[in-house]
Structure formats: structure tokens, C-alpha cells
């Protein structure tokens, strides 16, 4: 069933008003009619089955049929921090990790990033956010992954105190300590994880040195070398497997 993200403020008693792009999508793309039903999710992760009552003034008016109790979000908060990469690759990563349940995507300006970006590029961030929204709708999530503004490497390091676990995806395992991803995930009992992934050219020696002086743990992602745009998909898939698959064991 088609799914739209709305603000709680769009709900008045048992009525929902949708305008803007989603109005356009419902009316002109999906060509829905009164009586048709969709799902709406709020920023508070409540979701409702709603039925179209009518259209007026570039708005769709819908009536709540019932509240849904969906459990499709990871039981953890996952941030993927990645060295800035080319736009098309960034878009692919955002699309896939939105599907796979990530909560935040944080572009980090790293030494070997081939693309230099401005710290503030609201237009680009908005575009990325739109991709995350669409992917969240399609994968039937109740929450949209948030795209953060790009930060410097120093700011990334300073943010580590906000996370229960910091993982660095690092292919040169012989130089790393404590690198087993499974061991780190299996023993994890906290709430928030940040995973740091290098750009196309990998981390610079200086960045590795800085990371080694933090609480971050270095982990490998299997014995093969993954591209920077594949690494986040590996990480998100195994986090889902570790923390969501196990739960259904008794069923």
C-alpha cells in the first residue's frame, strides 16, 4: 500500500490534510479517487490507515480508518558516516541504506575525497533528503533517514562521545586491533552506533592515526575489498541480521 510521511500537525481529530508534492503524487501520479486508501506516518513514528474523502484547493482530505502498530524500525540508532564521494554514488548509498533501516547519513570531508564540497549546500542536502524520503516510503518504514550537513574530520571525532559504539570499516586488518565485526555487534547492548567509512581512496594515514586515538574500534567487512559505496550496505545488512533476525527465533 502507498505510504506518505506527514507532520502530526496535518492531523485534526480523525482527519488528515495532505498538500504539496504528496497531493500531486496522490492525485496525478497514482490517480487515486475518494474511497481509496493509503498509509500515513508521522514524525513521531505513528502510522495510520486513511481513506480519501475528497479533494479541494490543492489538498487531499482523508479520514483515519485505524491506527497501525508497525514494528519495522531497527531497535538501534545507526549513523553511517562516510567520506564525501561523488553525487551519483552518494545517491545510491542513501537509497540503499534508507531501505536497510539506517537513521542518519553523515558526509565527512576527508583528505582523499575526490569531490570537494561546500560545508553548506542546502540544495544538495534537500535533494538527498528527498531520495531518503522516497526510499523510506517504498521500503514501508515508519521513519525517514536524516541527511546531515557535511562535517569536517575534527567535528566527526568530536561527535564520538554521542555514540555508544564507534566502528571504523578498515580493510588493512593487519594494522588494526580488535577488528572482528561480529564480536563487536554480538556483545553490544547500547542504543547508538556510528560506522565510519572512507571515501574511494580510503582513509589517509593521518586520519587512521587520529581515529586510533579515539574510542573507535576498527573492524573488517569480510576478506574481500569492498568499494566505498558497497561497505555501508554490508554494514546495514549485518546489523539487521544481528539485531532483527535473532528476535524472531522463537516464532
Amino acid at each position: 500500500m502507498q505510504r506518505y510521511f506527514i507532520n502530526t500537525s496535518a492531523i485534526k481529530q480523525n482527519q488528515v490534510i495532505i498538500s504539496g508534492q504528496d497531493y500531486h503524487h496522490i492525485k496525478n501520479v497514482m490517480r487515486m479517487k475518494p474511497g481509496d486508501r493509503v498509509l500515513v506516518c508521522t514524525e513521531k513514528e505513528n502510522s495510520y490507515l486513511v481513506e480519501i474523502t475528497g479533494f479541494s484547493d490543492n489538498k487531499v482530505i482523508l479520514t483515519i480508518v485505524e491506527e497501525r502498530n508497525e514494528q519495522v524500525e531497527l531497535p538501534l540508532e545507526i549513523t553511517i558516516a562516510q567520506g564525501v564521494i561523488r553525487r551519483e554514488k552518494t545517491e545510491e548509498v542513501i537509497r540503499r541504506i534508507s531501505e536497510l533501516g539506517a537513521n542518519f547519513y553523515l558526509p565527512v570531508m576527508m583528505e582523499r575525497s575526490l569531490v570537494k564540497i561546500k560545508e553548506q549546500d542546502q540544495k544538495k542536502t534537500n535533494r538527498y533528503q528527498m531520495i531518503a524520503k522516497e526510499a523510506s516510503e517504498q521500503s514501508q518504514r515508519t521513519r525517514i533517514m536524516k541527511i546531515e550537513e557535511p562535517v569536517s574530520f575534527d567535528k566527526l571525532l568530536a561527535s564520538f562521545e554521542n555514540y555508544d559504539l564507534c566502528l571504523v570499516a578498515y580493510e588493512k586488518l593487519s594494522q588494526a586491533k580488535d577488528y572482528n565485526l561480529e564480536k563487536n555487534l554480538r556483545s553490544f547492548t547500547g542504543k547508538s552506533i556510528i560506522v565510519i567509512i572512507g571515501p574511494e581512496g580510503g582513509f589517509s594515514p593521518q586520519e587512521i592515526k587520529l581515529l586510533q586515538n579515539t574510542k573507535a574500534k576498527f573492524v573488517g567487512l569480510g576478506p574481500r575489498i569492498l568499494r566505498t559505496e558497497t561497505a555501508p550496505l554490508y554494514v546495514m545488512s549485518v546489523i539487521s541480521y544481528q539485531f532483527e533476525e535473532g528476535e524472531t527465533d522463537e516464532n
Copy 2:
């Protein structure tokens, strides 16, 4: 280090001869000179460090420096069987699952495939095979994922006897039995797994019915709906995690 796949027949005593596209790549793309070193892997999964001795007649002549003992391949044989999807999506899947260690990619003609293809399209298969080769080189594998010719659904079902475990990725869990992926993988002690993934529109009811009458087990890939091109990446990532990460536990 740059890596090339060769046939064992290209090795004569301690000398290796490379011609064709790889010759072009070494000489004109990488602009290598005598004394430069690369890695070569044979179809028997032997790999060697070799040094360029010289160029002649559209050939590179290299000398074996040493045999390498690399363990970068999964301890299992994994076949990803997927409903035929659009060419660009197929290419992306092939690229990513090559990196992630898959051994065979089998396109299957399914009812809801939006693309109709000829059973034999050697040109397309060759192109896909080239993408798999490049991705295998870049991820530093010792083996190239093989692209199979597309098969009918009936042929797919008939092939199940060749696999120790057949898994069907199915989002509608309430209709499925025995759907826990982790349980199926954790208890697996065989050698070969085939994972069947639907096209964009999913399996048809008829296909599900046919699959239910086989030894295949239905599994979910987390609680969110994944696109058909994301599902193989999820599967390959968790197979690596389950069968490769654990092994390094004692290190």
C-alpha cells in the same frame, strides 16, 4: 596491487604471457613498465605475484616472483538466482555481489519480469561476465563469479537437487513457513546454497505455489521491504558475516 585473471595455459614454467584486453590495460591504461609487479589468478584459484619482463607483439611477458596463498573466497558456493530485471539494475547487482563473494548469478524468467529476454543472448551474457571479472579484480578475489544463461522457472526448480540449501527471499512472511534466515544459515553445514529472489513485481502466486512444493525454505530479509536489487546484497553480506566473520573469533 593490480590483479588479472588468466588461464593456467598462459603459464609456461615461470613465465606468464598476457594478451588481449588485459595487455591493453597493463600497457596503455596502467602504463606499466618492465620491473612493475601485478598479481595474476588462474581459474584453479592459484595466484602469483609476477613482474613485467617486457612487451612484444601485443603481449606482456611476466616472470613469476612467488606463489601467493590467499584466502579471500567464501567457504561455500553461493548462487544468486533472480527474476530477470532491467539491464542497468542487473549490472549493479552483478557488480556488487561479485565484490561480496558470490559464485554464480542465474537470471530466471519469471511471470512478473518487466523485461522479456531471449534465452540465448550471448552478447549480453558476455557483457555481464566482463563486469563480474572487473569487480572480482577490484575486490581482490581469486575467482570470478560466473554469469549463467537465463533459464525458465521450471528449469530453476529442476536444478534444486544440485544444492544443499535452497532459500526463497519472500517478504510476505505471514504466508510463509520456517522463515528465519539466521536459523537456516546458522545450522547449515553443507557446501552449496542457492538464493531465489523475485523481479521488481515479486513472485506471482503461481510461482510461490510451485516453490512451496519443493525443498526450498522461505526466509525474510528483515522487516522492511527491500527492492529486488538490494535483496542480493543483503543476502551476500549476511552470508559473509555468518561464515567468515565468525572464523576470526579466536584471533
